[in-house]
């Protein structure tokens, strides 16, 4: 039994009593990898992990390093495979060191005492998890996070080549989360097989080489984090809308949940609002109005513009154009048609140069009564002019032509609210 260990599961079923939680799962884990198991609550993640460690009955083939796991004696398994539970009962006041030393029980005969090597390994594990100072503390006096680190230290002291982690960081703060998971990644780097159940998808994406996504006890996806964590799969499995991106600093996939709830109700949707913005000026406004449940459209946006990305994420239609190019005539034509369809047009003040000046000119043709100009408080119109005063002049004209001006999002909301009854009362 030397060398790194690998786990293979084939047609694996497991559950409690009559209830089958894990259904026909086949996967294998090779040494030197850190795999995350993800999935919504009740999908069978923990059950799968517990079936791997043999504490719940399972059917199918489960092999540890080529040998059927049921043929291992408990002691052999205790040396081959470690497990970090989410939590554990603490009915008696053992000291932290006593609990960690339990990891070494299988390595020495019950008729002899633990050796200095055992103590050294346990002290090292306490150091690695940053709880050496708690060594003589009673476990009943520990916080949830400290206790979780004791459980991790115990599994480290067990020195197993395979480590199963059931949400190992659920009680940990930010620093300790990344400390513990970095430690696990280093262990994987030195040839261990690490398998962890994760709730936090970003942590899983950041530290794991591979993610297995399960739903209703079955594998939905099994690949690298960037291929598993796609908005489509996450909507399928979790029923949540997210946006994913590659983090510029880590190069890892990360995702953010989108607010899908609206704090206002259905009738508001009838107000069609067109937002003219650019250079990222509309990002927050689009999110704000989207949350409020308006039916939104965006204007002409370059595909490198943050506003374009926001509109795309929120599913807001817009007129995309290539960056650093002249606005094509057909795009302007389309924009004009949008002017007529919109109940309200919001001009979110943004930098205007010769390139996007045509938009402003087109806006002059629209009904000023339906235009709301959003000039953030404390900003000067001139600061948006990159067309030698031409843009500023047009801005000024718009403001005096009967449009409504406001400096805040709430101001916009109020103006939209006053527009609402009229729209609803109109025969159309």
């Amino acid at each position: 039994m030397t060398g790194p260990l690998s786990i293979t599961a084939e047609n694996h079923h497991a559950g409690y009593g009559m209830q089958e939680i894990v259904k026909s799962i086949s996967c294998s884990f090779s040494p030197g990898t850190f795999t995350g198991i993800i999935g919504p609550n009740g999908s069978g993640k923990t059950t799968l992990l517990r079936a791997f460690s043999r504490v719940i009955p399972a059917s199918g083939i489960l092999e540890l390093n080529g040998r059927e796991i049921h043929n291992y004696t408990p002691a052999e398994l205790g040396i081959a495979l470690g497990f970090v539970p989410q939590d554990e009962e603490r009915p008696f006041s053992y000291t932290v060191l006593q609990v960690v030393l339990m990891a070494r029980y299988t390595r020495t005969s019950r008729f002899s005492s633990l050796t200095p090597v055992d103590y050294a390994r346990c002290h090292a594990a306490l150091e690695e998890t940053g709880i050496a100072h708690l060594e003589n503390r009673s476990i009943r006096a520990l916080s949830g996070g400290e206790w979780q680190r004791v459980l991790i230290a115990r599994a480290l002291a067990q020195e197993t080549k395979v480590l199963l982690l059931d949400e190992p960081t659920s009680h940990l703060d930010l620093t300790h989360q990344s400390d513990v998971l970095s430690l696990m990644r280093d262990l994987a780097g030195s040839g261990s097989t690490i398998i962890g159940v994760f709730h936090d998808l970003n942590l899983a994406a950041l530290f794991c080489d591979r993610l297995i996504m399960i739903r209703n006890g079955q594998i939905v996806a099994d690949d690298t984090p960037s291929r598993v964590l796609t908005p489509g799969k996450i909507r399928d499995v979790y029923g949540a809308d997210v946006i994913t991106s590659v983090h510029p600093a880590t190069g890892r996939t990360f995702l953010m949940p989108l607010a899908v709830t609206t704090d206002r109700i259905a009738p508001d949707n009838t107000l069609n609002v067109l937002v003219i913005s650019g250079g990222g000026s509309g990002t927050d406004l689009l999110h704000f109005l989207s949350r409020k449940g308006f039916s939104l459209t965006a204007g002409i946006l370059a595909t490198t513009d943050n506003d374009y990305l926001t509109a795309k994420e929120l599913g807001i239609p817009c007129i995309p154009i290539l960056p650093f190019s002249q606005i094509p005539a057909h795009s302007l034509k389309k924009l004009r048609s949008l002017f007529f369809r919109a109940d309200r047009i919001i001009l979110s003040m943004h930098p205007v140069g010769t390139g996007n000046l045509p938009v402003l000119l087109a806006l002059r043709e629209a009904d000023p009564a339906r235009i709301i100009v959003h000039l953030p408080e404390g900003r000067d119109i001139l600061s948006y002019d990159f067309a030698k005063g031409v843009a500023a002049a047009h801005f000024q004209d718009l403001c005096t032509a009967g449009t409504q001006c406001t400096g805040s999002f709430n101001g916009i909301l109020k103006l939209l609210d006053t527009a609402l009854p009229k729209i609803l009362q109109s025969p159309e």
């Binding site: 517990r50 460690s53 043999r54 504490v55 009955p57 004696t73 408990p74 002691a75 052999e76 398994l77 205790g78 040396i79 495979l81 470690g82 497990f83 539970p85 554990e88 009962e89 603490r90 009915p91 008696f92 006041s93 053992y94 000291t95 006593q98 609990v99 339990m102 990891a103 029980y105 299988t106 019950r110 008729f111 009943r140 115990r154 067990q158």
Partner: protein, 315 residues
């Protein structure tokens, strides 16, 4: 760890001293050398068997209690929790009512072991079962047997007095063979539990934890239950159901040296023995030979309440 060796030595010395002093103490007076007629008979024939039996019975109950508490992950568990005492009571009452009081210890033993076998066969039928199921089954069986004992008391007539006294527990009729019988069970079963100290430690954090640490949790559970049952059954057959020793002794020990079972087990053996010998000496010397179960419960119950109170403060 540094306190454990001195504590065990201290307890061992105290045990020997307690046994010696209590053997020479009694309602007939105290003395190492007594010139009174019949003194040798009283000391050697009555007191010595009684003190030794009390020591071994107390030790058996305390060590079984310590093991059960770890097994059930509950410091409030006592060795009778699975129905040993009510089973023993049923056996003893049966012998008293129907057999005119012969073979009471034998029937008590059969009742105690029988109760556990019934619990096992009900709760353990499905292979791997949870400790909670075992505990609940034990409590149910215990109540059922208590009902039968009450029924026997109701129809016992003039034997009621005898049953009641048996239920309260005492060492009136013990002989030297009884003491040796208790020792004969205590030595191997105590040693077994002592060498399972580590397994009990791991098990006291949960069966799954123990399994993950490489311990055969199922085997340890049945071994510990088997050993504890034999200990409790021998204690019950000799002295009836004496309360609180098995519950309270492990607590005192844990307060002194922590919960490590490799120390708690031997320390409980000694401390349980000392406590019961002292209680029994009190009973026969100052309380005109009241059932010792009254003394232990009388002192034990307030102590237990104080203990619960302490836990509340600590939590």
């Amino acid at each position: 760890m540094t306190r454990t060796i001195p504590l065990i030595i201290c307890l061992a010395v105290t045990s020997v001293l307690t046994i010696i002093i209590c053997t020479f103490t009694g309602p007939a007076g105290f003395g190492f050398v007594s010139t009174a007629p019949g003194a040798a008979d009283i000391v050697g024939g009555i007191r010595l068997p009684r003190v030794l039996a009390a020591f071994f019975v107390g030790a058996s109950l305390a060590v079984a209690g310590a093991a059960m508490q770890s097994l059930f992950r509950n410091p409030m568990a006592d060795p009778y929790i699975l129905g040993t005492s009510s089973g023993g009571a049923l056996g003893a009452s049966f012998a008293i009512v129907f057999l005119g009081g012969v073979f009471v210890p034998v029937f008590a033993w059969i009742g105690a072991v029988g109760a556990i076998l019934i619990v096992w066969s009900i709760a353990g039928r499905r292979g791997m079962i949870s400790v909670e199921t075992l505990l609940l089954t034990g409590i149910a069986v215990s109540f059922f047997f208590s009902a039968l004992v009450s029924f026997l008391i109701a129809i016992a007539g003039q034997n009621v007095h005898q049953i009641i006294f048996w239920l309260m527990g005492g060492f009136w009729n013990v002989s030297l063979p009884d003491a040796f019988l208790a020792a004969g069970i205590l030595v191997p079963a105590g040693a077994l539990l002592f060498f399972m100290g580590r397994d009990l430690n791991a098990l006291s954090l949960g069966e799954e934890t123990a399994a993950h640490l490489g311990i055969d949790a199922t085997r340890v559970r049945w071994t510990v239950l088997g050993g504890s049952t034999l200990l409790v059954a021998s204690a019950v057959s000799i002295a009836g159901s004496i309360g609180f020793i098995g519950l309270v002794t492990p607590h005192i020990v844990r307060m002194l040296i922590g919960p490590d079972n490799r120390v708690v087990i031997p320390a409980s053996i000694l401390a349980g023995g000392i406590l019961l010998v002292l209680s029994d000496t009190l009973a026969r010397t100052f309380f005109s030979d009241l059932p010792v179960g009254i003394i232990t419960a009388f002192i034990g119950a307030p102590f237990f309440i104080w203990l619960i109170h302490q836990r509340e403060i600590a939590a």
